[in-house]
Symmetry: C2
Subunit: 402 residues, 2 copies
Amino acid sequence: MSLIVQKFGGSSVANADRVRNVARIVADTYRAGNDVVVVVSAQGDTTDDLIAKAAEITAKAPRREMDVLLSAGEQISVALLSMALGELGCPAVSLLGWQAGFQTSSSYGSARIKNISAERLRVELGRKNICVVAGFQGICKYDDVTTLGRGGSDTSAVALAAALRADRCQIFTDVEGVYTADPRKLPGARKLQEITYDEMLELATLGAQVLNNRSVEMAKKYHVELEVLSSLARKPGTIVKEVTTMEKMLVRGVTKDADTARISVIGVPDVPGVAFKLFSRLAAKNINVDIILQSVGRDGTKDISFTVGRSNARESVEILQAMDILDGLQVVADTAVAKISVVGAGMETHPGTASQMFEALFSADINIQMISTSEIKISVLIDETSADRAVAAVHRAFFPEG
Amino acid sequence: MSLIVQKFGGSSVANADRVRNVARIVADTYRAGNDVVVVVSAQGDTTDDLIAKAAEITAKAPRREMDVLLSAGEQISVALLSMALGELGCPAVSLLGWQAGFQTSSSYGSARIKNISAERLRVELGRKNICVVAGFQGICKYDDVTTLGRGGSDTSAVALAAALRADRCQIFTDVEGVYTADPRKLPGARKLQEITYDEMLELATLGAQVLNNRSVEMAKKYHVELEVLSSLARKPGTIVKEVTTMEKMLVRGVTKDADTARISVIGVPDVPGVAFKLFSRLAAKNINVDIILQSVGRDGTKDISFTVGRSNARESVEILQAMDILDGLQVVADTAVAKISVVGAGMETHPGTASQMFEALFSADINIQMISTSEIKISVLIDETSADRAVAAVHRAFFPEG
C-alpha cells in the first residue's frame, strides 16, 4: 500500500463529465489499495469569471480580498469532486486550505507555503477517506485566506506529498508527459520515461510549460518523486526524480523560447566597470538578463549584447540610452529572435554535444547569433523565422527517426 | 457612536451596481461615526447555480459537501462588497463564517448557531475596520464548514448583533418595512413604525414573509432591536422591539395565508381518546396541524375538522383513512380555502376586535368556516376565492382610509 498525491488542473475538472472522469481515476487508485490525497484547481474559467466580477467593482482590488474571492473557485471544485467520488461509492472529504493545514506567508496573491500541519489529513486518511484538498490556497498567521499565485496548485500538491512523505506525486495535465520537444509542433518528439529535477527545471525555464518551476524546486528539495501524466489517456507519464536510470540519453529535450529579445550596445569604451554599471542598472529596474556576449570591437572599443524578455526590450533600450557612460552610443534591440536549447544531464561529460548541435544548425543553414552553455544545457540565439526549423534539425540530430 | 449590524440579502447584491449601492449605504452609516458589521448573502442566483452544479454530479449530494459548495456563494459576495467599500475609501475586511467565530452544531445544511467567538470582530472594529461577514455559514466542532439553512443570513445578523451587543440590527430587504397588509396586493396598506417581537412572529407565521421566524425568536430572546427597511429607498423602516410606544393601534396587520387545506372527518364516535389518537398519528408523520374545530354531529357522533399545509392534505387523508378507529368514516379535504388573520398585541384587552372582524366579513358577504384565536391574533378560514376581498374588507374596518 502506498500514499499517492494526485493533482488535477482546472481543465481536468472544467465540467461535470470531466469531474466524473477525474473521480474514476482517483477511485481506481484508491481501490488498488492506496491512500489517496487529491489536489484540485478551480474549474475551467471560474478564476477568470471571478476576476471579471472584481474588475466590475474596482480597478485596484485589495489583494487580501482578491484571495478571498479567488479561493472560492477551488472550494467549489473540491466539493463537486468529493460528491462525484461519493457517487462511485468511495468515501471522500473535501478540505479547504485552512482545513488541510496550509500555513503560508501573508503576501496575499503570491504567498509561500511555510508549513503544513497535516494532523487533520492523517486522521482522515486513517479513516480510509480520500482527502480532496483545495489547491492554491492557505491561511497566514493573521488567519486570513491567502493564495499561492500562478502554478500554485502544483506547489500545493508537491508540498503535501513532502509533508505526508508520499510515495509519489502525480501531476495530471493535458499532455501525456515530458517530451524531447513540443509534440504539438514536432510530430517526431518522443515521450521521456524519466528525467531529473535539474533537467526539468531547465526545460521549464526554457518554455516547455509542463510543470511550474516552484513545484519542481520543491520536489527536488524534499525528494518528492513526481509523475507528469494525462488525465485523459490512461498510460504512464514521465517520472521526475533525482537520478534517472532507465535511459542513457545525452539530451533530454530540445526547446524553443520565443519570448526573448537581443539588445546590443555598439562601441562601448574599454574601461573597467562599464558592464557592471550597465547590468546593475537593469537589475535595479527588475529586468532579468539571460545570455550575455561581449566582443572586442574596432578601435579598442567593445560591443555588449544580451537578451531580455521581449516585453522588457523597449524599457531596456531607454534605460541604457539614459546612462551617462553610454552617452552617444548606438543601442539597438532585435525582437525577431528565438532561443533554441538542448537540455540533458549527460552532456557535461560529453564535450561533443555542442558541436553536434552547431553542426545540425549549420547543415540547415541557420546562423547562430549568441551561445550560452551550462552544465546541463546549451542555448543558442537565432533568427525567429528559422526557429521551428532549427528545433526540428537539432531534434533529428539527437533523436534520429526510426 | 453606535455599533450597528446591517444585513443585505441576495437580491441586494445581485450585480456590481447593487453591490455598489449597498456599499454606499454601509459607507454612510460608517461615516456617520458608527462601528459597522455587515452580513451578506450570496449574490442573486449564485446559490441556485451551485445547486445545479451539484445536481449534475449526483442526485444525493452528501450534506457536508453541499455546505462546502454553497458557502462559496457568500465568500464571493463578502469579497466583492469589501472591494466596493475600499473603492469608496472605507477600510473593510471580509470575514468568512469560521473567521467571524460562528460555532454551530454539526447538522450540515441546517446547523444551529451555538456560540460566536467575537474576538477577531472586536479587533477589526477596534482598528476602525468595517467587518463584512459571510452570512448563513459557520463551522462545527469537527472544523467542518456548516450552513444554517433557509433564512440563515437573517439569523447570522441577529446572532452577531446579540454577541456584540449592537445598538441595532438592520435587515435590508426589497420592501420598505412591515405593513398592515401586503402592499403589493392592497394599495391602502400602511407601513408600521414599530411592532413587537410577538406580533412580528405571528405575522411571519401567517405569511407576511418579511423576516425569518428563527431570527425574530433570537432577537426577542437576546433583546436585539431590529429594523426592517429597503436597500433601495433611503427611509426609515419598521422597528421590531419588545414594547412599542409610538403607536396605539389595536391591530398591526391583516394577512392572508393560502398555503392551507381543511380536512374533515364526519361522524366520529363520541368515545374518549379518538381526537388524541388522530392528532398524535399525524404528529408522528411530521404533519403540523393548525386550526382545530370539533363540532357535535348528529346521532351522538361528532365532526372533527382541522387545517394543515396544502402539500400535506393528501397524505393526511390517507393516514386517517388507514386508521382502524376511523374505519368506514368519510374523510374529506378542501384545498380551496385561505386563512385570514388580524394580529395585534393590543387586542387582548379589547374584546371588540373579533366582532369588528366578523362584522366586516359579514358585510362583504363572506362566510366563515373556522375560527381560531390567541392573545394577539384572530384567524378565520374562508373560501379561497374570497381571500383578497376579505383582506381588503377587514383592513378597511381597522384602518379606515384617509
